[in-house]
Amino acid sequence: MTELFALLRHSLAGLRVLLAATVVCGIAYPLAVTGIAQGVLPWRAEGSLVTAAGAHTTDPGAAVGSVLLGQRSSDAGFFVPRPSAAGDDGYDPLSTSGSNLGPESSELVADIRARRAEVAEREGVRPDQVPADAVTASASGLDPDISPAYAALQVPRVARAAGLPTAQVAALVTEHTDGRSLGVLGSGHVNVLLLNLAVREAAGG
């Protein structure tokens, strides 16, 4: 009985501390960060949106997407992103996810085989030339990047469809390729949306 009473007494003190923490850490703190972020870094805070001309914007109505979020591209004149498990059609920010299939999963093995055949046919290459990121779904389902190898694989097809010289598209890929940060962090990658915007601009809109 005395234990219960002690627990109750400590819980009431705990409730007062929790309410104070809610005001300070749960309301004041995130609002302060939001205020400063919106004031100083509005483009980042609003999701790194870009217009069709590649300009930064904070207005979703004027944007073609976020440079941080991958998006589906079905047009043959565009570079294709990685497979995505986010939502039924992929690249759905309301349903972010990887496939969560394990390394011995027969479903994953079948997916990889099918994707390899599909990419090889689309790009007109041998199946063994298709890189790993082209046949695997990313963790978020929103991966904005592809590997430099997958970008290089798509250059001839994109150049053909966009009516551009292969060398020019290859140069655009090089221009949009980022190496490892600080030389050692992460992996080399190419931002698909920015690359596609550059291709479209080069092709005359």
Binding site: Y29, P30, L69, N100, L101, S140
Partner: protein
Amino acid sequence: MSAVLAAVLQVLLLVLLLALVVPLLGRYLAHLFTAPTHLRFERATYRLLRVDPDADQHWRSYAFSVLGFSLVSVLFLFVFGRVQQWLPLDIGMSALPADGAWNTAVSFATNTNWQWYSGEAAIGHLMQMAGLAVQNFVSAGVGLAVAAAFARGLARTSAGGRVGNFWSDLVRVVLRLLLPASFVAALVLVALGVVQNLSGPRGVTTLDGGTQQVTGGPVASQEAIKEIGTNGGGFYNANSSHPFENPTALSNLLEIFLLLVIPFAMAWAFGVIVRDRRQGGAVMAVMGSLWLVSVGLLTWAELAGHGTAPSLAGAAMEGKETRFGEAASALFAASTTATSTGSVNAMHDSLTAPGGGVAIVNMLLGEVAPGGVGAGLYGMLMLAVVTVFLAGLMVGRTPEYLGHKIGQREIVVVALYILTMPVLVLAGVAIGLTAPAGLAGLQESGSHGLSEALYAVASASNNNGSAFAGLATGTPFWNTLLGLCMLLGRFVPIVLVLALAGRFAAQHRVPVGAGTLPTHRPLFVILLSGVTVIVVGLTFVPVLALGPIAESLS
């Protein structure tokens, strides 16, 4: 540069950053937990809240404060989840189901951040920031407070079982460390690309004419404390693999740094509090070497990419982001499971079999290398007591640690502590795999299916929160079972830790004698590492053999 060299150099860079910050932060933490004076605004806070920050609490009173505070935290969060649809910034979300609200309330109040739901589909902004993120601060504070109480218990003798004041520990660590650190980290994250707004999803017309809903939310402010407090609950379902939570390789390194820095610094703080820095150094050496081994193994596993699907694809890139690649994903996976964080930048279910095995073993070690904020330190110190006891048995002397005798009563408390987690894990897995409602959640059959269930229960019982997410756990069965694992896995050990702290603080000091095992020498570091691995090894080898080991060999 080759991928292997880059992988090694990124670890070196991280170690260098930690080496620069940990001693300073460790000293600061020790100061927070021992300074007798309060800051002016803290005194005002205590007066307003009518709590006494100066009472030197007996361990029982301290434990009641921890339990009372956590109890109201669970209730508050449960109610929040049930009524979020009526609150501002709900962005159209509905009430959580009762079992889901229970699971989430326990999950965040225990520093676990296990998530049965998908953030962007289930939780409104107000619940994220004023419900979940608040627990990210205070549950981290609870862990740190308990570790501080244990360190003070070890530093004191003849103190009548008094271990300090919970309220001042909690308030100080939140106001003087977690809040300012999160504030700075959040703004850096925004600069790197993490979003910070109060908007719901907004449609943009994409390049091929489709519509994509760009999600918003106060993400950076939550991301910062999620890593700093080793919480791990993602704002979005994809957690730190989401480009809006972790946009670049730089933000990735920052997040890994943040989730490791306080756990390591607590080992340093421990040395300062017990007035013998070499003791903190020995604990840190054990933590650091076990962490490095797990990083090495996991990085090797992912870069080698063994297994049917990775071999077929050409690399283990399923469930990984291009900007991170295998090495930065492996470093994150090892660090998030070696602490109690549980945030992920790659989907652990799709890790190679040995890689996933390392993640599971990291959690089953009890998350002590370096472990969660506070929890890692007291877990490792419990193992240190076991080590001293075993060494005492070997040479036939009465074991003692830092001038405290390890008698029968003390070792019973430690034994109960050591047994709690394995009992929860093994019984939990057994229940999960015998009940039809549990089996229904498995995505895959055979050893990988077992690994999914083992991972879930180990993650919950150790308050980690990461998952082999193929397991469908948003069911009343799994929500209830894992909720119980999280609750018992958090508070049974905490009560035992405080009880031992109280016993130590009540003892008379045992003078150092010829039979005293020095606990700061390399020999002790090796012994403690061995005990950490062997205690786990003997307990979990059978289930590991049937799960990840069998899958690795298949």
